[in-house]
């Protein structure tokens, strides 16, 4: 069985306990709601973007340590990125957790979630914020991990 320490790395537990980007962005241009029916987690991602660049992004809602840390690190990493770059990062992150056929290049901050792949029941926890991000950017709507 996989080591629990690979799942709950210090960076993950730190961001889970003390999220830096929890809240709502003032004057947001994009909003998305995410829902994981499996565990009841709900998340709202708000984004302030201008000329295709994400100036600020926050998340709100309650979730497990994995989903909270993932949302928080996602928000931190996306500030200053373009919307296109955000979508590329989503694909990379998704690949990191679900596709073990090829190595995925992701920023070091996101690589802390690579251990989640060994816990299949928790992959949806880690990807909820990212699915919500994409739905905010593309549909301004609701994402679900179903």
């Amino acid at each position: 069985m996989s080591d629990l320490r690979e799942l709950y790395l210090e960076m993950v537990t730190d961001h889970a306990k003390n999220p830096r980007k929890r809240g709502k962005v003032d004057a947001c241009t994009h909003i998305g709601t995410g829902h994981n029916p499996l565990c009841g987690d709900k998340i709202v991602v708000t984004i302030a973007a201008e000329n295709g660049v994400i100036n600020d992004i926050k998340f709100d809602g309650e979730g497990c340590a994995i989903s909270t840390a993932s949302a928080d690190l996602m928000a931190e990493i996306l500030i200053g990125k373009t919307i296109d770059e955000a979508k590329i990062l989503f694909n990379g992150f998704h690949g990191l957790l679900t596709d073990d056929s090829q190595p995925t290049e992701v920023p070091r901050k996101l690589a802390v979630f690579s251990g989640v792949r060994e816990f299949p029941m928790r992959v949806k926890c880690a990807t909820l914020a990212w699915h919500t991000l994409i739905s905010a950017l593309e549909n301004d709507g609701e994402a679900t991990t179903e």
Partner: protein, 405 residues
Amino acid sequence: MITDAAISDMFPALHQSIGGKKLVYLDSAATTQKPQCVIDAITSFYENDNANIHRGVHTLSQRATKSYEDARTSVANLVGASRPEEVIFVRGATEAINLIAQGWARPRLCDGDEILITEMEHHSNIVPWQMVCEQTGASLKVAKVNDDGSLDLDSFKSLLSEDTVLVSFAHVSNAIGTINPAKELCTLAKEVGATTVVDGAQATGHMQVNFTEIDCDFYAISGHKMFGPTGIGCLVGKYSLLEEMEPWQGGGDMILTVSFEETVWNEVPFKFEAGTPNIAGAVGLGAAVNFINEIGYETISTKEQELLSCGRKVLSSIDGVKLIGASEDNSGVLAFTVNNVHPHDVGTILDHSGVAIRTGNHCAEPLMNRFGLSATCRASFSVYNTTEDIDRLGVAIQEAIRILG
């Protein structure tokens, strides 16, 4: 009295390691583990008696029919039905409730009628009624739950009126273990002339149930929550009501004669069992009933109550653990939350210690909302658990707090 070790030895799945630690199975409210006698009965059926039932004249078919009908009689005797024909085999408690909803309620209810349920129901005792309301124009009323997880009797009484056509409630709550006073609730419902449905999915694996004594009209049973296999359950119904009802599915075995001009239904219970049923499942359930009779409900509930009080003590002594809906009449469910640790994380960390619990909303979202929670942790007991299992649970929760609390 039979020893803990002897009971545990009857359940092969309990004797394995998870991540190098001995499995502690505390998820019996989701499904119980199966004793060897149930596994053997199913294997033996397929190895020796497998045939279709009721129609064949050959020996295997006769044996299969006898095993299937013997299982019906065993269930009828276990739950005090007045005759075996009152027991209809279905896929599970969910299908039993849907059968009542579509077979009894839908043709009878109309605009202005009311269905009364409670806030502690499993989704399977909510959604079928919402569907009936949508189809008939009836409305759904919901009796409140007290802070301790017991049913608010005043709320229940206040919602009963001459418009109440049907009352349906859980005998035992799957999410928090509350045992409802089934007989009392049915008596109250009958005073306004309502038909009564008791969802017994969480009851028959844990305590003696007597259908005739409760005096409800319908009682839903889940096989896999009482040591039987999945995919089999029963609807127990009063014979006169079952006779009045139209079948809900058409097909083979549920008819006496078929022609293109006229088809005549078979008698109760066969008119509700269209198609080849889960024969091996029924045989397995029959073996599960024999197992329960052999161990005895008294042993089962004494053991579970002992585990419950021990579990409440152990959990209450851990800082940051809060028990949810810990009512006095409880059938062996510990629902709890851990401060600053999401139930999903608790579940993963406990699993890593070999301790299997359920986390989430337990298919009872309205009840979670009632307690202002999106999810809880649930440890649920059966006769094969021991106080050592509770100690392991306590230690694992402390580990979760150490990592994330």
